[in-house]
């Protein structure tokens, strides 16, 4: 079973919507409560003061994700560097997917983006796992300049998902700005699944693509992590 990391800025009151908790409940979930400190503050100093409060909040959150059934746990980290903490904990827990929590009600339409150089096979098998036998429909989305190759990829992926018993439709955006097209397509969906892409100049300037999508679409985004050997 794929493990999903749900990082939450716990002491800033960041929380998860009921829709996302229900969506992830059947999966293995690690709630990563983190608190980013300015460099003036040693992490240990913050721990002494906030550990009890943060732990109490995390226990409640883990219960929402199914801690009672043994599918969810939590970790609490005090850090100066958020990204470094995410990567370390994701590696340590073997989480292939991380969630950017957003606001949503019950999830019954999932937008799955295959745009760019992402691990389509791993995204597909994660979506199959995630939906299981629930009544959640899938829209496969792809933005590309190459219409024919794009259609083929969407078609092939749709067929395998269909064979698993999922409701699938496809949406192809040709010659549109990929990110804007994805955010537009997200409008009539409850959550987004996408792949993490190799860092580039764009991510350096504008920030991580997944976070920009999350900001643009408001809803939760599940990001299938890039592995070293994906290259």
């Amino acid at each position: 079973m794929t493990r999903i990391l749900v990082p939450l800025a716990i002491l800033e009151g960041e929380s998860v919507s009921a829709g996302l908790a229900d969506l992830l409940k059947p999966m293995d979930v690690t709630v990563l409560g983190y608190h980013v400190l300015p460099e003036q503050t040693p992490p240990d100093q913050a721990r002494l003061q906030y550990e009890d409060r943060a732990t109490a909040a995390l226990e409640d959150l883990a219960t929402e994700f199914g801690a009672a059934d043994g599918t969810a746990d939590y970790r609490l980290v005090f850090t100066h560097n958020r990204k470094q903490t995410f990567d370390r904990v994701a590696d340590a827990t073997g989480a292939d997917v991380y969630a950017i929590p957003g606001a949503t009600g019950p999830v019954d339409r999932l937008l799955v983006a295959l745009t760019g150089d992402v691990a389509v096979d791993r995204i597909r098998s994660f979506v199959t796992d995630l939906i299981g036998d629930r009544d959640i429909s899938v829209t496969l989305f792809l933005a590309t300049d190459d219409e024919r190759a794009g259609e083929q990829l969407l078609e092939a992926t749709a067929v395998t998902l269909f064979d698993e018993g999922l409701h699938v439709r496809t949406e192809l955006a040709v010659d549109e700005p990929p990110l804007e097209a994805l955010v537009n397509a997200a409008a009539d969906h409850d959550a987004i699944v996408m792949g993490e892409r190799a860092p580039s100049l764009r991510t350096l300037v504008f920030g991580e693509e997944a976070e920009r999508v999350a900001a643009g679409s408001v809803g939760p985004v599940l990001v299938v992590r890039r592995l070293e050997d994906d290259d």
Partner: protein, 472 residues
């Protein structure tokens, strides 16, 4: 909170040291319920060490040192470097054995017990306060010179007001600022090193007679040997930064490797730069002229070798360097206050942080307030010597603590780095640290001893029943 520590005793208010069992990995510290990410790499460690040190030695001391010791001021800086190195090596071993926030204070309280720990911990707080005030006054001189270069002559009476203004500014910024200044600090250090390397390469070639007009060498130690040592005691303030690396030991990635490299490396880098700078400066202008120019003598050295461009580069470098030293020291001060308050040697209130900015406002205030008072005195040499005095006591005791721990190694003592040349190196380190104190001005010695007596009294009043020895 304050309960659950394995022994440790209580202070006069009934608080216990907050000590919990931890597991250290290269990437994080794991406590029972939480993890503390290690986020500083080797570059960050070197930037803290070099960034703290470089401001004083290059930009403030050359004039003052040359006045006292002549061209032999180079030798004074070399003596300082040797002493610093003799301490940096034992400190590295202890830091890899105990990679925790608190640095020198932590090693001494665990190795030698609570009395030595209290004296060093509180003295370090004051030592850093004196050092920061010294950097700020240096900054004030450079600020006035910058205005002069820009054609605004304001005179030296503005040095102290400017220093006070910026001292208050740094404190407020550190309480409210959540921007990541570490990257900026790395950039500043890199920029400074580049300016210095260009300047010193050109100046060095000139001074050695390869380019430019040949100059007549003056007598190396015009005032004899004794001033070389008193000057070494004065300029030792230029080497205080390496131990500040140990105050962030708990946040350093792969501490077994990075801590020794950052501490020893930063001493070597600044030591070489200092010696070369003094050589270039005294060769260029002659030590008498340098002495007359005082705190910002380096500006004229820059002008001598590279014309107006050189002067502007040095003025700019001096501003950045003294600023980065002052800011890094404010941060170290707040960390050292946290370390003693965690161990119940100060009220635990002192380590409160606020959720709004996530900064330790109480400790920063306890750093900033005294810094401003001392800055107002404007006595550069006194501030520098008292700072060195209080640090040297800690350095000597670090070496003693190492020897004490090695003679009867506790089970938990398992450093990744072991000091070469044990027991000679730590023994020499201790002797040299204490000896350097003897060459200081008696006023500085008196103030230093006074502060240590006060901290001892504080121990007997407040923390007599706290037990820290061997309590990890």
């Amino acid at each position: 909170m304050g309960t659950g520590s394995p022994g440790g005793g209580t202070n006069v208010e009934g608080e216990s040291p907050r000590i919990e069992p931890t597991v250290e990995t290269d990437e994080a510290t794991l406590t029972d319920d939480a993890e503390l990410e290690r986020t500083l790499g080797l570059t960050g460690g070197l930037a803290i060490g070099i960034g703290t040190m470089i401001g004083a030695g290059i930009f403030v001391f050359p004039g003052l040192a040359a006045e006292q010791a002549g061209p032999a001021a180079s030798a004074s800086f070399a003596i300082g470097a040797v002493v610093a190195l003799l301490v940096a090596l034992p400190a590295s071993e202890l830091a890899t054995a105990m990679p925790k926030s608190g640095g020198g204070y932590y090693f001494i309280s665990r190795g030698l017990g609570t009395l030595a720990g209290t004296v060093v911990g509180l003295s370090l707080w004051f030592g850093l306060v004196f050092a920061t005030a010294f950097y700020l006054v240096g900054f004030g001189f450079y600020a006035v010179d910058t205005l002069a270069e820009l054609g605004i002559a304001v005179g030296e009476e503005l040095v102290i007001p400017i220093a006070l203004l910026f001292g208050a500014g740094f404190t407020v910024l550190n309480v409210t600022g959540t921007e990541n200044a570490a990257k900026l600090q790395n950039g500043i250090v890199a920029l400074l090193l580049s300016i210095l390397v260009v300047f010193l390469t050109y100046g060095g070639l000139d001074a050695a007679g390869v380019v430019g007009e040949p100059s007549v060498p003056e007598q190396f130690a015009p005032a004899g040997i004794f001033p070389v040592f008193t000057t070494a005691a004065l300029v030792f303030t230029s080497y205080l930064g390496f131990a500040q690396v140990a105050t962030v030991a708990g946040e350093m990635k792969n501490p077994g490797r990075n801590l020794p490299l950052a501490m020893v490396g930063s001493v070597l880098v600044v030591g070489v730069l200092y010696v070369v700078t003094i050589f270039v400066a005294t060769s260029g202008l002659g030590s008498e002229t340098l002495g007359d120019l005082g705190e910002t003598a380096m500006v004229e050295v820059g002008r001598h070798y590279l014309g107006p461009v050189g002067a502007v580069a040095i003025v700019f470098g001096g501003l950045l360097a003294t600023m980065s030293s002052a800011n890094a020291s404010v941060l170290s001060t707040s960390r050292s206050i946290y370390a003693v308050s965690r161990d119940a040697l100060l009220p635990q209130e002192a380590s409160r942080i606020n959720l709004r900015y996530g900064t330790p406002h109480v400790a920063l205030g306890m750093a900033g307030g005294p810094i401003l008072v001392l800055t107002a005195t404007g006595k550069v040499e006194l501030l520098a010597e008292v700072a060195s005095f209080l640090h040297l006591v800690m350095y000597g005791l670090i070496c003693v603590a190492l020897i004490a721990l090695r003679r009867d190694e506790p089970e938990w003592y398992d450093p990744d780095f072991r000091v070469p040349g044990y027991p000679v190196v730590p023994a020499l380190g201790a002797v040299c640290s204490f000896a350097l104190i003897l060459f200081m001005d008696w006023t500085s010695q008196l103030i230093g001893v006074g502060i240590m007596i006060l901290t001892t009294v504080w121990y007997f009043y407040y923390a007599r029943d706290v037990d820290l020895k061997g309590k990890l």
